[in-house]
């Protein structure tokens, strides 16, 4: 099911992709060719009015003449009935109760409780119905309150959105009908009041309130720029343009007074963001509408003062709302397992109920034999069906239900709600962790879905996006090569990493959180100041520009030998792009909106080097250039004749421009692979040098582009333009090819200018974080859209790849495949490709199998991935990939990312975490068990789809190793403890029942039982779930191998769960038999009173409350005041409950009336028994815990020992020499296990040698990470 859905969405995404590029192409026409109707509309227009295309919108109906046709009017009323208010809430006032109840009872446990509540109202009830219902009601109400609060928050958000204002063309308050013309104007109206057909005016930087058809804009040619970040995460601006007919007739506010009677006919509401089919009828003439005229809700108007539009879809009809899909609800593995434990408990409940029923049946049947009553005092001769000795089978069957209800304490009713409370609080801790707060962007971590907290502690594989995740997605122009001379002296992150790899000292771990645990405030300031300083160091003065070279900066380039080439180079940078400048009116500063950060970097570089691009019109660009001859700034404009768009096939982008002198130029920038073959043969003076520079740049992990130009002759251009226009206007399927062909005509015989190098900056702390994660035994796969070389470079930079690692490369960029591509026989190509991929995978596997102890890296490109992910090869591929230390998939599409994620998830059955920042990562984020969104620059799409959002990749380390581990360990301990305490309670009930000949008599008073889960035992366990720390954060990070407890699920394996259950049974047996034997038939007070059901029950209950709460002291490893308070408060509550409840009128408290005050409190034996039983009940587990931690310690036990030793070291002790050794072994073990990461590069023996030295010399042992230098 889910898989299919995801498949559909990824398909949808792919479709969107292709549509998107179509939109881009159409945008280019506006530069070159002006307006023209959309190409593919001819046949779709005919569909209007048919099924799926039935919407008819009367534009500004209220203002115009009443429409003629009655059915139209009715239709209009119908669609205006859909208001523009939106509601994302799950419930409303009326549906809340039934709907939320329904949600609740989808849980197995709750159905069981409902069932037993039902039994409670029948004569089968073991105890009073109200006390049976009360816990269920409390739990349900608590959960519903939580739901209500969450829904209320959503409602608040909706209200905020619904009450935003925009300007709507409407009648003023005192206007009176049709003749009150003057009263009609654009007035502020709330979004929720907008109706279909309204005309709205949207100003700059405002969101569109609904889906609008653009009528006209502040620009003369009726274009407007739209930012669709909220829709698709793309930050580039999209260009929209209205129809000529509307833009010319509706230039300003006043013109709308006379505008009426227009009708828009279009498709019905649907979820396709990039399609729109419709037409507009003005004065009886129909004009086709296309997506080009549609402004979508939630996108933003940019760079345009205002636009007018007519509302076609409102509220939930809008495309963005139609698109909002339910986030797939994810459940953690622990919870899934918990369900299985629940089933086990239900099963054992049924088993003991059956046992109980059988014995009850036998005993009941025995009571009356041949008319002779055995237990005459039960009157078996005169019974209801439930005790009928003549029909013992029926009685037993009915008794089964009584037993199910009675032993129901096996099933912890409050478990789910407790877990939810705990997870909510855990999420708060995650949100408030100051170490995961990113100051530069003012972003704290945010756990968006709290139900996956513990899953964070079980991650086996991380699938990460590269751009924006590992790298900061800020492109910096850092180097260039012009006319064979290399400029730029910046050092890249990759070069730094390479230097490090070649033997420079390992940079100390930057995470300051390791150190100085002592003073919080100090530490905080320390972090702030450190990020301050780093921010200052790292941040270039100008974003996107990190170029330092005095030879060309500050206008010095004019003195360089080939200044003409340099001039052309800079001019090309300033002209050949599709950026839009934005001039700040006050400061005069110019910023740019660009399609990709690379382009922005180029334009910024050009600006910084003296070629300021400051204006773009429909037809051209204007630059402020430095004139080399005069040395002055001059304004020049270039007419842009054609834009030959970049795409992945062409790998280049060109513009044809005409300068002020009327000369025609073709400016081209593109990948070296395509550019060099297009250079003119004669002009190759510095070709070799440039190629060499490019290689050097690529080695340094930089993105390179080759820049070239040529001058065009008039006739040559005319020929090209004709061809190009014809190609664009053709509607045949090979249109793209024709355009390429036409472009090919001019993109040849180019003159080389040079090459640029842009750094895709690694985010801070990424290599160190990856190292830690690798040490924690987490596998890291990089899924990137980048090309192989870049991906490999980044792999080296962030330590995923290292020298000495064997690289297995699977690619289809081999000669034979390329040759086949040329022939373009589709089937042959597919077959050959597939064979090739399969062969390469096999070879890789052989290699991996053959060697031992070596690390492998798998690098696969997108094309190969397509074949590798096919059903028959994917298992092989996964096998190979799992055998490799690191896996890098390059050139992968969003769909492939999702597919790979699914492959890993289902193939290995382990927990996967996908982390990404862009819309293209949404697929894998939703597919993975846990999706982490980087709330960075690329919009909110990834964050919206994610389960947890963080600001930087490096925070993943703390999120997983600290919070993940804690949450996992807490939740699993908590669940185990829950089972323990409920089994303890339930088994005593069962044992007692055995002594009542299984008649179903409860041992304890009804209300006392009802309070067990809610009052006497809930607080400590919640405190444990929220506060317990098996190991402190510092040690979690210091010993990353500890994390493996999660992926291997050591803390929630069946042995542990069953162990805790058996502990519960043992406790119950000890408590029951000791307390009943101690207070049997003899007097228990000096007054000679004997114990009865009430006193014995209350005594046993007391023992349970004590034992179960004191058990905490053996279980918990981190006691804050909160936990002490919770434990003792719970015990105190029991002692408060008993007398208070006992003081209430006996008609309510029944058997427990005055039981404590009168009978128990004054009896020494009661207290003596309590002490005995409590101690005896705890001894087995305590002994077990001692043996376990002494002889079979878990990893966290060992670290606890280590910490303990370390502390003891403050007071010298001859014994502590051992802990140096322990620490080494722990660490050495951690280091050894990893195949990737910085530390993987250290030789194990060297580590040992160095550690001996470093550790003993370290002034504060273990306080920081030991810095080891290795000369390799």
């Amino acid at each position: 099911m889910a898989g299919e859905d995801d498949g559909n969405t990824t398909n949808g995404r792919r479709r969107r992709r292709t549509r998107r590029s179509a939109v881009r192409l159409s945008k280019l026409y506006s530069y070159a060719c002006g307006r023209r109707p959309s190409v593919a509309d001819d046949h779709s227009v005919s569909r209007i009015g048919g099924p799926g295309f039935s919407r008819v919108v009367m534009v500004n109906a209220a203002a115009g003449e009443p429409p003629a046709a009655a059915d139209l009017l009715q239709h209009q009323q119908q669609i205006t009935a859909t208001t523009n208010s939106i509601s994302t809430t799950k419930y409303n006032l009326f549906t809340f109760l039934p709907k939320s109840l329904f949600e609740q009872f989808r849980r197995v446990a709750n159905i069981y409780f409902l069932l037993s509540a039902g039994i409670a109202y029948s004569p089968l009830a073991a105890y009073s119905s109200s006390s049976a219902i009360a816990p269920l009601v409390i739990v349900l109400v608590a959960t519903m309150i939580k739901e209500a609060i969450e829904d209320w928050r959503r409602n608040q958000q909706d209200t905020e959105v619904n009450n935003r204002t925009t300007q709507v063309f409407q009648q003023g308050g005192d206007g009176d009908g049709w003749d009150g013309d003057a009263a009609w104007s654009f007035r502020d109206a709330k979004w929720k009041d907008i109706r279909v057909g309204d005309i709205v005016k949207v100003h700059k930087d405002e969101f569109f309130p609904a889906d609008l058809v653009l009528l006209s804009s502040s620009y003369e040619d009726a274009i407007c720029y739209v930012e669709t970040m909220n829709l698709d995460g793309e930050t580039n601006l999209k260009l929209k343009q209205s129809l000529e007919v509307t833009s010319t007739t509706l230039p300003d506010d006043d013109s709308f007074r006379s505008f009426a009677g227009a009708v828009v006919r279009c498709e019905d509401p649907n979820a396709h963001l990039y399609t729109f089919v419709g037409n507009i009828e003005i004065d009886g003439q129909q004009h086709p509408l296309s997506p080009q005229q549609l402004l979508l809700r939630d996108s933003k108007l940019r760079n345009t003062d205002f636009v007018y539009g007519v509302v076609v879809f409102t509220g939930h009809d809008t495309k963005v709302m139609q698109n909002s899909m339910k986030v797939p609800s994810k459940r953690s593995n622990v919870e899934k397992k918990m369900d299985r434990v629940m089933y086990l408990l239900l099963f054992s409940l049924i088993v003991i109920s059956v046992v109980s029923s059988v014995f009850f049946g036998i005993a009941t049947g025995d009571d009356l034999q041949d008319g002779r009553m055995k237990r005459w005092y039960l009157r078996p001769d005169d019974t209801e069906i439930y005790y009928d000795p003549n029909r013992p089978a029926v009685a037993a069957l009915l008794h089964f239900f009584t037993a199910i209800m009675l032993y129901g304490y096996f099933i912890p009713i409050s478990l789910y709600i407790s877990i939810e409370i705990v997870k909510l609080l855990q999420a708060l801790f995650i949100n408030n962790d100051i170490h995961m707060y990113h100051r530069e962007t003012d972003t704290p971590a945010h756990a968006r879905t709290s139900n996956l907290n513990e899953e964070l502690g079980q991650v086996d594989t991380i699938l990460t996006d590269k751009t924006g995740t590992l790298t900061s997605n800020s492109m910096e122009f850092i180097k260039c090569s012009i006319a064979g001379t290399a400029y730029g002296r910046g050092i890249t992150e990759v070069e730094r990493a390479m230097a490090r790899r070649k033997g420079a000292p390992v940079i100390p771990n930057p995470d300051n959180m390791d150190k100085g645990n002592n003073s919080g405030i100090q530490q905080q300031q320390h972090i702030l100041s450190s990020s301050d300083s780093e921010g200052n160091n790292d941040k270039p003065a100008v974003k996107g520009f990190n170029f330092v070279d005095e030879r060309v900066m500050g206008g010095n380039w004019v003195n360089q030998p080939r200044s003409d080439v340099i001039e052309m180079f800079f001019r090309l940078l300033a002209v050949c792009h599709t950026c839009i400048p934005e001039v700040d009116q006050e400061s005069g500063k110019i910023s740019y909106e660009a399609e990709s950060p690379d382009e922005a970097a180029f334009v910024v570089a050009a600006r910084e080097l003296g070629f300021t691009f400051y204006k773009r019109t429909q037809t051209g660009v204007s630059l402020r250039e430095l004139d080399p001859s005069s040395g002055k700034q001059v304004d020049r404009s270039y007419k842009i004749l054609n834009v030959l768009e970049f795409n992945s096939a062409r790998k280049r982008m060109s513009v044809v421009v005409k300068n002020e002198e009327g000369k025609l130029f073709l400016f081209t920038k593109g990948a070296d692979s395509v550019m060099f073959e297009r250079l003119s043969g004669s002009e190759s003076a510095y070709r070799e040098v440039t190629q060499q520079h490019i290689n050097e740049y690529a080695d340094a992990g930089l993105r390179t582009l080759v820049l070239a130009y040529r001058e065009l002759k008039e006739d040559e251009y005319a020929y090209f333009d004709r061809k190009f226009t014809a190609a664009k206007n053709s509607v045949s399927t090979d249109r793209d090819e024709k355009i390429d062909e036409a472009a090919d005509l001019v993109e040849r015989d180019l003159i080389l200018l040079g090459a640029t190098a842009v750094e895709d900056k690694l985010q801070k702390g990424v290599p160190e974080c990856i190292d830690k994660l690798a040490q924690a035994g987490i596998k890291i796969w990089v899924l990137t859209g980048d090309k192989m070389e870049t991906a490999i470079n980044i792999g080296y930079a962030c330590s995923l790849l290292r020298q000495g690692m064997k690289q297995i490369t699977i690619t289809l960029e081999t000669a034979d495949i390329i040759a086949l591509e040329k022939v373009s026989d589709k089937t042959a190509l597919t077959k050959a490709s597939k064979d090739s991929v399969a062969r390469q995978i096999n070879e890789g596997k052989k290699l991996v199998n053959a060697s031992s102890g070596e690390s492998f890296a798998l690098i696969i490109d997108g094309k190969s991935l397509t074949y590798a992910l096919e059903d028959d090869t994917k298992d092989m591929f996964l096998d190979l990939a799992v055998g490799c230390g690191s896996v890098i998939c390059c050139r992968s599409s969003p769909k492939q990312k999702a597919l790979v994620t699914r492959l890993v998830k289902t193939g290995t059955g382990k927990v996967t975490l996908a982390i990404g920042d862009g819309a293209n990562d949404v697929g894998m984020i939703q597919e993975a068990d846990i999706g982490v969104g980087i709330s960075g620059a690329e919009g909110m799409q990834a964050v919206m789809a994610s389960d947890v959002s963080i600001a930087q990749f490096r925070f993943l380390e703390r999120l997983l190793l600290v919070h993940g581990h804690w949450c996992y360990s807490r939740i699993s301990s908590m669940i185990c403890y829950f089972f323990y305490k409920n089994i303890t309670f339930g088994v005593t009930l069962f044992l007692y029942d055995a002594y009542t000949s299984f008649s179903g008599q409860p041992f304890y008073n009804d209300w006392a039982m009802a309070c067990f889960n809610v009052f006497f035992t809930s607080l400590p366990v919640i405190a444990m779930g929220v506060f317990d720390q098996d190991v402190s954060a510092r040690f979690c990070l210091k010993f990353p191998m500890l994390y493996q407890e999660g992926p291997q699920n050591l803390l929630f394996q069946w042995q542990r769960i069953i162990g805790w259950m058996l502990n519960g049974v043992a406790c119950a047996v000890i408590i029951f038999f000791l307390s009943t034997a101690s207070l049997q038939h003899q007097a228990f007070r000096s007054g000679g009173e004997v114990s009865d059901m009430a006193t014995l029950g209350a005594t046993a209950y007391t023992c349970i409350v004590w034992a179960v709460n004191l058990q905490m002291y053996i279980t918990v490893s981190y006691f804050t005041l909160v936990q002490h308070v919770c434990i003792w408060l719970s015990i105190a509550l029991w002692y408060i409950f008993l007398p208070v409840y006992g003081a209430i009128t006996p008609s309510f408290s029944t058997t427990y009336y005055m039981v404590f005050v009168e009978a128990l409190a004054g009896a020494p034996s009661y207290w003596v028994v309590t002490l005995l039983v409590t101690a005896a009940a705890l001894i087995p587990y305590f002994t077990y815990a001692v043996v376990k931690s002494w002889f079979f310690p878990d990893y966290h036990n060992r670290i606890q020992w280590l910490r303990h030793r370390e502390k003891a070291k403050a007071h010298p002790d001859p014994e502590t020499s051992a802990d140096v050794e322990l620490s080494q072994v722990l660490r050495q073990f951690s280091v050894r296990s990893t195949g990737v990461g910085v530390s993987a590069r250290r030789d194990a023996t060297a580590v040992l040698r160095h550690l001996n030295v470093d550790y003993s010399q370290s002034p504060t042992p273990g306080a920081g990470v030991v810095v080891v230098t290795t000369d390799r």
Partner: protein
């Protein structure tokens, strides 16, 4: 969110400089030891020192308590006499049920008890029943508290099945199986010629007398049915003074139980012979239950129950044993901290 889009490049030095002034408005989490989970805490660890001392201390506390409890129990003098078998006439031993159900046969029975040790007053007289399921759910439920408490609610007989009403529909007070099956053996004690009167006052819990059984509630229609259960009640005496009933109605927890019959305020000497003349009315023969008469003194800890003392001794002894055992283990086989083998995760290859 952050409005600075990827492609935006503003000419200035970015917003880093402005950050200082705008610090107040950040979404930075507030620092507190609580939110950062750094609250001061104790982190107990099961060190040998701790473990051994815990066991040892528990042992050291428990053993004396055990000894004291045992001594207290030993102080109690208890005389138990099982009479259900002995009181059956020898000709009826084969058919005890006929004997007990035959109302014409006299149920008088004389038992002689020898005092084994000096007994100080008060001496508690109990009857002990065995294999009697007073805790059977049907039995426990078969009563109506409101009726017992309130004279005006005599008609409330719900839950009293099957002893609700008489054949002609009159409500039975007190209704229900518990009251109906009220124990009806009686005991009289003499020492030589001296009549040892049994004080039957205050044998029930005060709260029961005062709050659960009404002062103005009188038995009516009790034991009028075809099938008689146990004792009859004097309809002239209000329920709150029918202490035998009140004691009986406090249902016992376990199938073997004692109930207080009364107190004897005489000191008994060792080797005194006490003659008990009893009426063996109550039918335990049909379900094979034993009947015992118990005379017992009590101490601060209650009756003669050795179990508590022994249990303390055993648990205390076990703790001391464990303390020694762990000490030994610690010295003989100290934890090898650097043992590489047990650090390996490979012991859990599949994990799961």
């Amino acid at each position: 969110m952050n409005s600075h889009a990827a492609g935006t490049s503003n000419g200035g030095s970015g917003d880093a400089a402005a950050g200082g002034a705008a610090r107040r408005n950040t979404r930075m989490p507030k620092y507190s030891k609580f939110t950062q989970q750094e609250l001061p805490a104790c982190k107990p660890i099961l060190t040998p020192k701790w473990v051994v001392s815990v066991f040892f201390i528990v042992g050291v506390i428990f053993v004396p308590i055990g000894v004291v409890s045992l001594l207290a129990a030993r102080d109690v003098v208890e005389i138990i006499d099982r009479y259900d078998e002995a009181c059956v006439p020898s000709n009826m031993t084969e058919n005890k049920l006929a004997y007990i159900q035959n109302e014409t046969i006299s149920k008088e029975c004389i038992r002689n008890l020898t005092v084994t040790k000096d007994m100080k007053q008060p001496i508690f007289v109990y009857y002990e029943l065995d294999n009697f399921y007073q805790n059977h759910r049907r039995y426990v439920k078969s009563r109506n508290d409101a009726q017992l408490r309130d004279a005006s609610k005599a008609n409330q007989t719900s839950a009293c099945e099957p002893e609700k009403t008489t054949a002609n529909g009159q409500p039975i007070v007190p209704c229900g199986l518990i009251a109906w099956s009220l124990f009806n053996d009686t005991y009289n004690f003499t020492r030589g010629n001296e009549n040892l009167t049994v004080d039957k006052k205050d044998i029930s819990w005060k709260s029961d007398r005062e709050h659960k059984f009404g002062k103005d509630v009188y038995p009516s229609n009790f034991q009028n049915g075809a099938l008689k259960g146990g004792a009859t009640l004097n309809p002239k005496i209000p329920l709150s003074e029918q202490e035998d009933l009140i004691v009986w109605m406090r249902t016992a927890a376990l199938p073997t139980f004692r109930k207080l019959y009364g107190r004897i305020y005489f000191d008994l000497k060792e080797n005194d012979t006490i003659t008990v003349s009893l009426n063996n009315n109550y039918n335990t023969y049909s379900f094979g239950g034993k009947k015992r008469l118990v005379l017992s003194t009590a101490t601060w800890l209650g009756g003669k129950n050795d179990f508590l003392g022994f249990a303390y001794l055993i648990v205390g002894g076990l703790c001391i044993f464990l303390a020694f055992a762990f000490t030994l283990l610690y010295f003989i086989k100290p934890r090898k901290l650097g043992d590489h083998n047990y650090l390996s995760w490979n012991r859990h290859p599949a994990g799961r």
